[in-house]
């Protein structure tokens, strides 16, 4: 049988919605290419016109819950067809090419395992189905990597959530995939295991595996030190180096609620303060301050209040959550 070399991957078409666009990986180095991919379920659009390319190393798919990350990962794995657009993984369609499926490892989001099976049996079966010559030994090695005991006689039904998560990772890496797709892999892990898993992900990336990790936790992504694809409401909101995106998130306008004993006097004074772009007195009496520089505003607030002899009752940022960050990026 002749095995044809995979066709060269297509150059991705980048979506207009992207806030930061770093240079996509050169075509020869792209393991995953998504071109104008959309996915809808009836009237619900889960993913809308998303384009990106991924090269070896760690890439984080960052977004709030329900943003479309899992749907995107499922399409990359070939588990779900695209409604529109194309996905190329290692030069082929992962949904149709079984050889490419053998080069993908998937850590699905759902907890479900074959409950009454032992971890070693489960991972050995995965190795067998991937055509590994010494499946049992490969399974033992994979379980060692995720710090699970291959000789544990308990069925996975008795495992904690974190242990099940590690079994899922073991079955995904047992055949040494070129592309590893991990849907929220740190969920359920204790702090030590979380650290170990982050190190493992970084090691695999350093070894040349293309690892795509979905997460809704900004700090996790920061620790992966990866390239980031920010997805929100099904759209690609930003892509690029994590630090650039972090800076963009920090530099965006912020809204802060200040409660005081004399809101009108404070509002009038703040209008001329440095870094303040807008001030509103809300119906309840709170002063809503828009600022581009939170630190500068915080430093100036106390002196203003002291000068006017006002009492500050509350100073609270209203949009410091990840959801607000994503909304801002999408709305740009």
């Amino acid at each position: 049988m002749t095995v044809m070399p995979p066709p060269p991957p297509a150059t991705p078409v980048l979506s207009d919605a992207v806030a930061i666009v770093d240079a996509p990986p050169p075509p020869g180095n792209q393991t995953v290419v998504a071109s104008r991919v959309s996915k809808w379920f009836g009237d619900v659009v889960a993913v809308s016109d998303v384009s990106f390319a991924v090269s070896p190393g760690v890439t984080a798919l960052l977004g709030p819950n329900g943003a479309g990350k899992s749907t995107m990962l499922r399409m990359l794995a070939g588990l779900a067809p695209t409604s529109q657009g194309e996905i190329s993984v290692l030069g082929a369609n992962p949904r149709k090419d079984k050889n490419v499926r053998g080069r993908i490892g998937l850590v699905p989001q759902q907890e479900g395992l074959f409950a009454e099976q032992r971890a070693i049996e489960f991972v050995t079966l995965a190795a067998q189905l991937n055509g590994m010559p010494n499946a049992r030994q490969a399974a033992r090695d994979a379980l060692d990597i995720v710090e699970l005991d291959p000789d544990d006689h308990r069925p996975t039904l008795k495992y904690s959530k974190g242990m099940k998560q590690r079994v899922k990772v073991a079955q995904a890496i047992v055949h040494k995939p070129d592309l590893l797709l991990m849907d929220e892999p740190l969920t359920g892990l204790d702090p030590r295991q979380r650290l170990h898993m982050i190190e493992l992900i970084r090691d695999l990336g350093a070894q040349g595996v293309s690892v795509i990790v979905s997460s809704h936790v900004l700090d996790e992504v920061e620790r992966l030190g990866s390239r980031v694809l920010v997805i929100s409401q099904g759209r690609l909101a930003a892509q690029g180096d994590f630090h650039e995106i972090r800076a963009l998130m920090d530099d965006r306008p912020h809204r802060i609620r200040v409660r005081t004993d004399d809101p009108r006097t404070l509002a009038a004074a703040l209008l001329t303060s440095a870094g303040v772009s807008g001030v509103t007195v809300a119906p309840g009496g709170a002063v809503l301050v828009d600022t581009d520089d939170v630190d500068r505003f915080r430093r100036s607030l106390a002196p203003v209040a002291k000068q006017l002899d006002l009492q500050l009752l509350e100073v609270r940022p209203l949009d410091d959550d990840l959801e607000s960050v994503f909304k801002y990026l999408v709305g740009r």
Partner: protein
């Protein structure tokens, strides 16, 4: 080969739960008891074949096959573990074949033993052979259809029961042409021919027709299952 057998073994463990096996065995046992009691109280020339046809082929075989085979792939879909087979570099037909094989491994003893015992108790050697062959025809045909059903809907048991009761149990008996589209025609034909009894069906299908239809239904059911696996949106 070890991968295929591993997958089959995995499916086998998920369908052959103690609850299912015990429940289905109890139904078989009840059938045996009823058959023996009725046969002792009202002995008749065609009682054995008639009872084996009505209880065995029209109720027990499709019911047990439905309960077992809708769970083969249905359980994987329900528990969201199908992904662990689906993502592997194997042909989808291998998943279908493993599911059918797992179903057969459970069904053959679960059906042939009680019905064989029943036939031996209430009938003669021909009745036993007829029952065994007819049951195999039913197992093969129903298993391929119900395995597909388990993959496409989470209400496979309800739909399967409706099919057994409405189509196989009622509509197929209304006209001869409808009868040819029901598996019961071929299972009862097999019993009727081997047991040499006209009781269960007045115009039984030939042995060739029974074989061709059985193989055809298995191919159609397996093809539909494989097609569905290819087209599925897997969780």
């Amino acid at each position: 080969m070890s991968a295929f057998l591993g997958m089959t073994k995995r499916m086998l463990r998920s369908i052959a739960t103690p609850g299912r096996v015990v429940a289905m065995s109890l139904v078989g046992l009840i059938g045996i008891i009823i058959g023996v009691v009725v046969e002792r109280s009202e002995p008749g020339a065609d009682f054995a074949v008639d009872f084996l046809s009505r209880f065995g082929l029209l109720i027990y075989v499709p019911l047990v096959v439905l309960v077992i085979t809708t769970a083969t792939l249905g359980t994987l879909v329900e528990e969201k573990t199908l992904v662990y087979f689906w993502m592997r570099p194997i042909g989808r037909w291998q998943i279908t074949a493993a599911a059918l094989l797992a179903g057969l491994v459970v069904l053959v003893p679960l059906i042939l033993v009680p019905l064989g015992v029943l036939a031996a108790v209430v009938g003669d050697a021909n009745d036993v052979w007829g029952t065994l062959v007819a049951s195999l025809v039913g197992i093969a045909g129903y298993a391929s259809l119900f395995t597909f059903l388990g993959l496409v809907t989470q209400r496979a048991l309800a739909w399967g029961l409706a099919y057994i009761l409405v189509w196989e149990g009622f509509a197929a008996g209304l006209s001869r042409s409808a009868g040819w589209l029901a598996l019961r025609t071929y299972t009862t034909s097999a019993l009727s021919r081997i047991a040499d009894s006209a009781g269960p069906i007045s115009n039984p299908a030939t042995a060739t027709t029974i074989a061709v239809v059985t193989v055809g239904v298995v191919i159609v059911g397996a093809s539909l299952t494989t097609w569905r696996l290819n087209a599925a949106d897997v969780d």
